[in-house]
């Protein structure tokens, strides 16, 4: 097997003492930041990107993998002990996990989340390692029209299909696309929407948008709505360890969660929320004691946590093989890759095969490290949760400012950051999702150049997009996914009117 040999090389590169240290540091700071309430994995990665600026690409990727998994794990800790899910995908974990913690079973809840994440990420990373080369074989045959169709699907699924209001999701996406126009056009050198401001010629940084929308928007939102009533984290009493019955009740949910999460994450079908809800419902149906659900059923933590992590690892498949981010976290990761001048996509596997397999190996290593380091350190994470919120949010803003001025110490960049913060505040006030804007910013220019490449090859004939069955099919799927929610909504309303 090629993949196995490549993976072995990757491990050989990743398993040096320095790289192991990078992985450990990444896991630790990723967890430390991810555990803070209000900070999800996307913001964790965006805030910590500057930390990896000056490292060599290999070392920074390894640290990056650690930060990614650490941030994910930290989010579940917050959900369980504070009932404050940092992102939509850990809402379900909070449901049962927080009840378990209230009932004095916080330890086993954290343990089943950690071990479930470990099992899921292990299997899903293995899936990534074996699926990616196959997908790359397909992807190298893709024409620009195919990429354009694929990106259309990603646009629609990220914004319209799963949100509670397709209009809001699409508006968020359109704002991202609009921001993506800003700057010098790569193909012709034409400046777009720069209004004569030289700082805008380089375009808008994804990290600036992500940090502004998430960190500053969230801070304004929490301050404005007085959401900072003192909520004490629930102390972890008694044994951390799971009983024999906990193990028995967790094992199958972990595996089922992984089986649900990985394929949905790997398809460009949007995010980790859907698999977590699916897994929760499946576990409730299959549970031997369904009446425990809502009162702290361990299955309801084990399954969704596994699904969440498997889906997160799954989103790396389209990200690495096609360069296609399908979640806010993946979009920020893509921005990180571009910072090291690495452009994910099928060519990456040819040109930088060593880097890819080092990254995959580091994902395995980060995963093991997470399990070894985080359960014993749970006391430390609980103490982090107890930081008073005024200091917490003030500190978040200091780090947000640090990341921005480290990348580009100009008042214009900070002005953009603050403007995005105000935008994020308004979007939160009126329930517009944030992720589509970030995906739109990074994917918009890519879709633009693929479309133009396709049209160049077709000498300006727009029907080139439909002359290949593959791209015609994908554009068709995107259209159906775009229209379907509106149709269903209309049907539901008609049904209501008839009653």
């Amino acid at each position: 097997m090629d993949a196995l040999a490549n993976l072995a090389d990757g491990f050989a590169a990743a398993l040096t003492l320095t790289n192991l240290a990078f992985a450990a540091i990444g896991v630790l700071i990723g967890t430390a930041v991810g555990v803070l309430p209000g900070i999800g994995p996307a913001l964790t990665v965006a805030l910590l990107l500057p930390v990896t600026f000056k490292l060599d690409p290999g070392g920074s990727l390894i640290m990056f993998a650690g930060i990614y998994y650490g941030g994910m794990y930290g989010g579940s800790t917050t959900a369980i002990l504070l009932n404050a899910p940092g992102e939509a995908a850990s809402v379900v974990t909070a449901l049962e996990g927080n009840r378990m913690a209230r009932a004095g079973r916080g330890g086993p809840a954290l343990a089943t989340a950690a071990i479930g994440s470990f099992v899921a990420a292990l299997l899903a990373t293995a899936g990534l390692a074996f699926l990616s080369p196959i997908l790359v074989d397909v992807a190298v045959r893709f024409g620009p029209w195919d990429y354009f169709g694929l990106m259309l699907i990603a646009f629609v699924t990220v914004s319209a299909t799963f949100g509670d209001s397709p209009l809001r999701g699409l508006t968020s996406l359109a704002i991202g696309l609009w921001l993506g126009l800003v700057g010098i056009d790569q193909l012709t050198g034409q400046a777009r929407l720069t209004f004569g401001v030289p700082n805008l010629l380089d375009g808008i940084e994804v990290t600036t948008l992500a940090v502004g929308l998430f960190a500053i928007g969230e801070t304004l939102h929490v301050a404005a709505r007085h959401l900072f009533k003192p909520e004490k984290p629930i102390p972890v009493k008694g044994s951390l360890w799971m009983t024999r019955s906990d193990w028995r009740r967790s094992l199958l949910p972990w595996l089922r969660g992984t089986a649900i999460g990985f394929p949905i994450g790997a398809l460009p079908a949007g995010g980790a929320e859907v698999p977590t809800f699916l897994s929760y419902n499946v576990e409730r149906k299959l549970a031997r004691h369904p009446e425990e659900f809502g009162h702290g059923a361990i299955e309801g933590v084990a399954g969704p946590e596994a699904a969440n992590n498997a889906a997160a690892a799954g989103t790396l498949v389209p990200l690495l093989t096609l360069g296609l981010p399908t979640s806010a976290t993946a979009a920020v990761m893509l921005a990180g890759f571009q910072q090291y001048n690495i452009q994910p996509g099928p060519l990456l596997f040819v040109q930088h095969a060593d880097l890819v397999w080092t990254l995959v190996a580091s994902l395995f290593i980060a995963n093991v490290m997470l399990l070894v380091l985080n359960l014993p350190l749970v006391g430390l994470w609980v103490r982090l949760l107890a930081i008073p919120l005024p200091w917490l949010y003030a500190g978040i803003l200091v780090f947000a400012a640090m990341g921005t001025v480290a990348a580009n110490p100009s008042p214009v960049e900070l002005g953009l950051l603050v403007a995005f913060g105000a935008l994020g505040f308004l979007m939160r006030q009126f329930n517009y999702p944030i992720a589509p804007a970030i995906v739109g910013l990074i994917l918009g220019p890519m879709a633009d150049s693929q479309l133009r490449r396709a049209l160049q090859m077709g000498q300006g004939d727009w029907t080139i997009l439909f002359q290949h069955w593959s791209s015609a099919l994908m554009i068709g799927i995107a259209l159906v996914a775009l229209v379907a929610p509106f149709v269903f909504r209309g049907l539901a309303r008609m049904g209501k009117d008839e009653d």
Binding site: F53, T171, A224, R225, V398
Partner: protein
Amino acid sequence: MQRINRPYLVIGLALLGLAAVTAWDAASMTIRANYGVGADAASYLVATVLAALGVGHLVGAVWGTPMALEHVDYRAVGWVALALASLIAAVALGAGFILASTLLFAFTARAFGRRALPADLLIGFVLGLLVYLLFNGLLTLALPAGPIERLL
């Protein structure tokens, strides 16, 4: 006659305005592509999408589920705004990262109901100092330097 929902109306008009600006920007582009479509095509596409969504919001203003601004504490928002403004001013005037983060930290904490301003200024200063030493020293990031940083 149904009531017109104001947030929908304002957002719809803003989107239409954005679409107009984008189309105007595209129309004033001078570099043309030799083949296929130029840089203006994407602008026109995005402008069309924005305009469609703007119309969608206007429709929503009449028939949609009304959306309303929930209670907002403008005093708290004002403190965060002051914190961010002092950050930008400090960087623009060359006062350095440590002073910027001192003010940013103290004013943000104030927005969240803290009253002990001197203590928070001190904490912000120490945090800024630690971040500066850690990132400028260990990771050789170039955080903006001012009078305080030059003393180090």
